[in-house]
Symmetry: C2
Subunit: 472 residues, 2 copies
């Protein structure tokens, strides 16, 4: 079959694709990395530029991440002014810092001017203030003021993520005037899907999607087709909250306004997608007891970041151990209890993790609230009871046969039911309470929940055994 | 301060906002629900329509989820033809099915015609085939063919998620002709950001973003400004893979093509955002040992879906218990071992979960690959050794003092170092191996990883004690 792309001769190729740089797994091909590596080793600037010139910024980012640290620096160095700084927005923070720290501020200032303001801010915000000031001082006035304004908003706000390039027109213009303006003005943002309507003081009056403009006759006035900007985002709004607005209302871009409702920038869906990914990743990592880790972090940074969580777990583990210690006489008389007790704790821990995961996720997506909390708690308790009974019977039979002791089987079964109920209630109530008191349930739930199932598991099993066999 | 919205009088309000339906937590206000509930109870259709008429589809979805099941059905019933079906794309599957199952197929057929094709497919795909056929049979021919085509693509593919409404023009048209066409044609999609260029057989030649059209003079030919559609998505491509393209290349929409490279639809970023959310949610739930659960699932469904994971855990728990059983004589002679052994296992389990979480996430985002696997494994082993030594010292001192037995302190310290190393290696190698053999590391890693840390923890601690104290 003929390749349809053969028909596109004469077509303007904006930024051509290199599908061949990835293998079927989506990993950068070793052969491509090898030829880049060879060009770097030979300091063959021409060959290097030829290899990477047609890469998309995100492809360049993947290549940078796949290279050795010293190769990265050499590549940036060899590329000189031809290095596309936007690729730095696509790599891990540690790699970005490594590259930027190795460049003179004058070169960064030069490169930053080529970038959209949101990309420039993304790179500048991680630098220390001194470097930031030195770089900003070397920029043209308008550029400097724009970037400074973004950087003055707190981290993780809409103001930090916004792009300060946008198209804005007065309400009394016609569609024809607007189109002519866009045809003539060379200072338009690289991409846009919406134009904004403002008064002479930059107060936001409304917005129009581009398709609305294309559907309207030239004589129609802008104010007739603009719509109220219902989702204007205050620059100080948390980026996660802004992302939620984008998701809920299927926005492609939204106006960002300052405290006086003046238009200061535009937040676009591509940045929001990054925020959504980042927030989902944070939740997952927090549930697993790790912080803002990246694969490129050092051993020292990784080790240190994991210690707090392990320390909390150490305390709760000693608490559970002290419950066992309370029954040391019982265990001495029947060592089978020591063999079986981790099973009760482990099953409870697993059941609790299931409930907790669903709860934490439902809280994050706001699916769990005061209206359905009661219903969900009842449901989880029921599920805990049902699964508790099912596994109690199983474990009771196996344990009874294993130690040739039906009483022991009955006791572990009873302890299982108790612990599965505790798991269900702990798995939902602990995240709910943490959320209620303003703590992040993703980060703190797991440790408390397993503490509950360990303690209840050991106490119910050993306690029942001590009582039944009269070991007190 | 004056509200800027006061200046927007005379503005066309496309779908007005109800910010007051949410409280500060983002939860639907009880007062709003109460007034809807009252209107439903009174069967006051007029009041009901007044309350909900200005809601965005996603707001309506939130209201439906917050209502009692019988209120939902009554609301849909009372609203009749005024009920906006697109709200059903914003609620949990169980709620959607409950509402749709209670409607005659004729009414569904009527409602589906008002929807964009992607929303219609989203609702139809969960129905059984018989109902689907009956509903499709009542649709006009073009509509029927379009929906049928989408439904014929496998679940979770681009073909299922695409919208079949799009704007396509021939390459020899001018910008002026294209704009005039859009001004006249009333059959345009509700929203679009890109128009496609096709040959007479619908073969895709290129695409143009709307801002490119607005920048070009009327006399410019489409083929001069169109760009090659580098990211045309095969209709059979998995939606997750398509989402990855959107993320990597910051796409707003992409052409979907059939096996013959003919344009069949367009995939838009708002649907992709949903896919990204859904996939991130799936990963999180799988890591927690739960499947595709929704809060609205029944007790029975929830209980059943959680049993497989608990069963696997049961087997591994018995395996660990049998390791302890092997040392029952040792424990009998020193019951302190039974008290302390869960600490070793628990710390190992936690450390392993940290490593595993980072590994699973890195695999999902393709940050972990053959180039850096060796380096990351070494890093994790180092982190495991360092944190192992730190916590070994802590635990050793506390345990030695607790039982007044320095030897016991030394033994638990040694076992901790061993288990933390095992945790680090298990935490990274198990997900890597599962991934290599095509299994989903998110779903299966946790159970194997904790099995490793339990078994190594119990075996190293009890084994070292038996050897040191000569209990064999």
């Amino acid at each position: 079959m003929e390749d349809p792309r053969d028909q596109t001769s004469g077509v303007q190729i904006s930024d051509a694709v290199h599908p061949e740089i990835y293998d079927e797994e989506g990993v950068v091909r070793a052969s491509f990395l090898a030829s880049i590596g060879a060009a770097i080793a030979d300091r063959d600037t021409l060959a290097l530029k030829h290899e990477v010139s047609r890469l998309h910024q995100s492809e360049m980012g993947d290549v940078l991440e796949a290279l050795m640290p010293e190769q990265r620096l050499a590549l940036v160095d060899l590329m000189g002014a031809d290095f596309d700084f936007s690729a730095l927005t696509e790599v891990d923070e540690a790699i970005r810092m490594d590259i930027v720290d190795n460049m003179p501020n004058a070169q960064i200032a030069q490169a930053v001017q080529e970038l959209d303001s949101d990309d420039a801010v993304y790179i500048l915000e991680d630098l220390d203030e001194e470097d930031q000031d030195e770089i900003l001082a070397q920029l043209p006035f308008t550029e400097r003021v724009r970037l400074r304004r973004s950087l003055d908003y707190p981290e993780e706000t809409a103001g930090r993520r916004m792009q300060t390039e946008f198209v804005a027109v007065p309400p009394f213009w016609t569609v024809g005037q607007t189109i002519d303006y866009m045809r003539e003005d060379n200072n338009l943002p690289e991409r846009f899907t919406q134009i904004f309507v403002i008064d002479p003081t930059f107060r936001l009056l409304g917005a129009i999607d581009l398709d609305q403009i294309l559907r309207a006759k030239r004589t129609v006035k802008i104010e007739e087709i603009m719509h109220e900007t219902r989702h204007a985002i205050p620059a100080t709004m948390d980026q996660e909250e802004a992302a939620r607005d984008f998701e809920q209302y299927d926005l492609l871009s939204a106006a960002v306004v300052d405290a006086n409702d003046r238009l200061v920038g535009v937040l676009t869906i591509d940045d929001v997608v990054d925020v959504i990914q980042q927030e989902a990743e944070e939740d997952l990592l927090r549930m697993g007891g790790v912080g803002d880790e990246e694969l490129s972090d050092t051993v020292r940074a990784t080790s240190r970041s994991r210690i707090p969580w392990l320390s909390v777990n150490l305390v709760t583990a000693f608490l559970s151990a002290s419950v066992i210690g309370f029954f040391d006489g019982t265990i001495e008389q029947m060592v089978a209890l020591a063999v079986l007790m981790p099973i009760v704790a482990s099953m409870g821990g697993n059941a609790a993790t299931q409930t907790m995961t669903v709860t934490v996720r439902a809280l994050a997506t706001r699916d769990l609230d005061i209206y359905n909390a009661g219903r969900i708690i009842r449901r989880e308790a029921m599920v805990g009871a049902i699964n508790g009974v099912i596994f109690a019977v199983l474990i009771g039979i196996v344990a009874g046969l294993w130690f040739q002791n039906p009483d022991l089987g009955g006791i572990i079964a009873a302890a299982m039911v108790i612990n599965m109920m505790a798991a269900a209630l702990g798995g939902i109530l602990i995240p709910l309470l943490l959320h209620k008191f303003g703590a992040d349930p993703a980060i703190a739930s797991a440790v408390f929940v397993t503490m509950v199932t360990d303690i209840v598991g050991f106490f119910s099993f050993l306690g029942l055994a001590a009582w039944w066999f009269g070991f007190f």
